[in-house]
């Protein structure tokens, strides 16, 4: 395959047009024409178009967007809401920020089309609080669209028809959990943002008890693109089962970190070496987290032939998540990295479910022992045991988000941890609690094939 950096990939979400964030530039480049096109279609046909395009959510779960939209009840007997998830707090993810900064009107146009297709009249763009600048940029774009009569009550005059949409930009205040969709809804409603038990799903009982759809920023930005290209052409970009372009955020030990828009299904190693300029100093890659910090880590020798799309990463034993690629070179202290990562999950656990609230704390304590050289080999089994007892036992996926990195990092890079632990007898302080549990039950750690 030729060098990726020399290929002319389509730039659908972040085209190279200067000042595209300004409304006049966006309009001069065909802006808001796809909403006009949408108005000539039946709402249900737009949903069918999304289904045919094969668009899958870009927030991590890769759920088919058209299918999600079709869950919304038809009819307008009660209000329906659209929430755009721009909380983007997963370590390693920084792609939505590029949309807020460089192409916010594409997002707004996508919201109008999505709203028209589902009969939704109010949308909320939830942006993480740390993004002060990007909240401001998005608010400015929304205000410019209001002033031009492209959203709000005046859009009936601008575009004709009987549909209008209001958009509210809502600023978070620093909580990772608000990226979880039901937590985001509680945050928007003004409650303490604990995740909700599902079912009922948001399409039945969402914001203020009404049908609600929650989509990621990048997902919605793809909507006008699909109407422009047609579902058929869009579905042919990139990987067959996960089509379209992806905004990949590459960080860590690479020469050119940043956000790259590429078709899905490219080889991960070529993305790292060609686009991101490889590892500084020509060092070897020890490990890569391919989709944001919650996704299973891959060893350097597992990367050959791994394709960057949902199915490709599944086959490789990981997941695409938000497309945040974190590259670690041969000198990386993996136990220290994991300790730092689990500190994050412990900090961000909302505290609602005991397995996550307590388990993340225990993971951090034991990992601190490992990192500081006061642990024994059996502590590594203990970590996997704790992770296994968090996974599947919590209301939301933060439990898994903490359990997966722990389990996969320890099983896949165990030698890194073994190098930091000592035999039980050599420990300065006897670990009494652990000794007790060793006498009763020890979980079997299944080695990966």
């Amino acid at each position: 395959m030729p060098n990726l950096s020399e290929q002319n990939f389509p730039k659908l979400i972040l085209p190279d047009i200067p000042n595209l964030h300004k409304l006049d530039v966006y309009l001069a480049n065909g802006g808001y024409q796809m909403y006009r096109k949408a108005l000539t279609m039946q709402p249900n046909d737009i949903i069918e178009e999304m289904k045919r395009s094969g668009l899958r959510g870009r927030g991590g779960a890769c759920f088919p967007t058209g299918l999600k939209w079709s869950f919304m009840p038809k009819g307008n007997d009660k209000p329906k809401y659209l929430a755009i998830n721009g909380d983007e707090s997963e370590p390693g993810s920084f792609k939505d920020r590029a949309i807020f900064e460089f192409n916010p009107h594409l997002l707004i146009e996508g919201i109008l089309i999505a709203g028209y297709a589902m009969g939704i009249k109010t949308a909320f763009i939830y942006i993480r609080g740390e993004y002060h600048k990007w909240v401001r940029l998005t608010e400015e774009a929304v205000q410019a669209a209001y002033d031009a009569g492209l959203i709000g009550p005046r859009m009936k005059e601008t575009f004709g028809g009987d549909y209008s949409m209001d958009i509210v930009v809502h600023k978070g205040a620093g909580a990772y959990i608000c990226g979880e969709e039901s937590s985001l809804m509680n945050s928007l409603e003004g409650d303490r943002p604990y995740p909700r038990v599902k079912p009922p799903f948001p399409a039945q009982v969402g914001l203020w008890g009404m049908p609600t759809t929650i989509n990621n920023v990048e997902t919605i930005a793809n909507v006008p693109v699909i109407l422009r290209m047609g579902a058929e052409a869009y579905s042919k970009i990139g990987a067959e089962k996960h089509p379209g372009t992806l905004l990949l955020g590459i960080s860590g030990h690479v020469n050119k970190p940043g956000v790259y828009e590429v078709p899905s299904g490219l080889p991960l190693l070529d993305i790292i070496n060609d686009l991101a300029g490889g590892v500084p100093g020509g060092k070897q890659i020890k490990a890569v987290i391919p989709g944001g910090s919650s996704m299973p880590i891959l060893r350097g020798d597992q990367l050959e032939g791994v394709m960057m799309d949902a199915e490709g990463l599944k086959a490789a034993g990981s997941a695409i998540g938000t497309g945040g690629i974190m590259v670690m070179d041969e000198d990386t202290d993996i136990p220290h990295m994991l300790r730092r990562l689990i500190h994050f999950y412990h900090h961000e656990s909302c505290g609602q479910c005991t397995p996550c609230r307590e388990g993340c704390g225990w993971l951090e304590k034991v990992l601190t022992r490992v990192d500081e050289g006061h642990a024994s080999s059996s502590d590594l089994d203990l970590l996997v045991d704790i992770a296994n007892n968090i996974e599947g036992n919590t209301i939301c996926a933060l439990g898994e988000a903490a359990a997966w990195p722990t389990r996969f990092t320890i099983t896949r890079l165990r030698e890194e941890f073994e190098a930091k632990v000592k035999p039980d007898a050599a420990l300065p302080v006897a670990n009494v609690v652990h000794a007790l549990r060793e006498s009763s039950y020890r979980p079997a750690v299944v080695a990966e094939s």
């Binding site: 370590p91 390693g92 809502h170 620093g174 909580a175």
Partner: protein, 172 residues
């Protein structure tokens, strides 16, 4: 998310009357109108309060409860959940250093240690003159520009200790 560092210090309060101006109260009413339920305006109103008073004291939260027509316990419950709502006074320049994985891989921890030693303060503490405060933040979404530091609302990416030093020395 319990901020245990806050509990260790004596309770502080803002001096003087704590009240929004009539213009600010009009803004509060406008914010309430943006949402189907006025309760949703609690986050923007807390942001307004923090902008005005610098942090959210018990008195401030009680005032927010009053203008929002919500129990104080509810306002406290929301404010205490989020790390960006300060429950104690922070410095004029709030220095936020990311040490999460992407920044850690590119030297974020050394940057944090440097600032901590420079001012003799730790996580969520401020200097005696109230000029600087330090926070070890979780991922700020600037991984492509790691290591990164945010001072108040502005991001500084691809930071070096020398460049940060010059910037901080210029500030104070």
């Amino acid at each position: 998310m319990i901020d245990s560092s806050a509990a260790a210090e004596p309770l502080q309060e803002i001096e003087g009357p704590i009240e929004f101006s009539p213009e600010e109260l009009a803004k509060v009413e406008q914010l309430k109108g943006l949402y189907p339920s006025s309760k949703s305006a609690i986050m923007p109103v807390l942001w307004m309060a923090q902008k005005k008073w610098g942090w959210l004291s018990v008195g401030v939260m009680k005032h927010v409860a009053q203008v929002m027509n919500l129990p104080y316990a509810h306002v406290y419950g929301v404010a205490s959940f989020y790390t960006m709502y300060f429950k104690k006074p922070m410095g004029q320049y709030h220095v936020q250093v990311c040490t999460n994985v992407s920044c850690m891989l590119r030297g974020g921890e050394a940057v944090y240690q440097h600032v901590a030693q420079k001012y003799g303060i730790g996580h969520n503490q401020r200097t005696a003159d109230g000029k600087f405060s330090l926070e070890e933040v979780e991922c700020m979404g600037a991984c492509g520009g790691a290591p990164m530091v945010a001072i108040n609302e502005d991001y500084y990416e691809n930071i070096t200790i020398e460049a940060l030093d010059r910037m901080l020395d210029d500030l104070g």
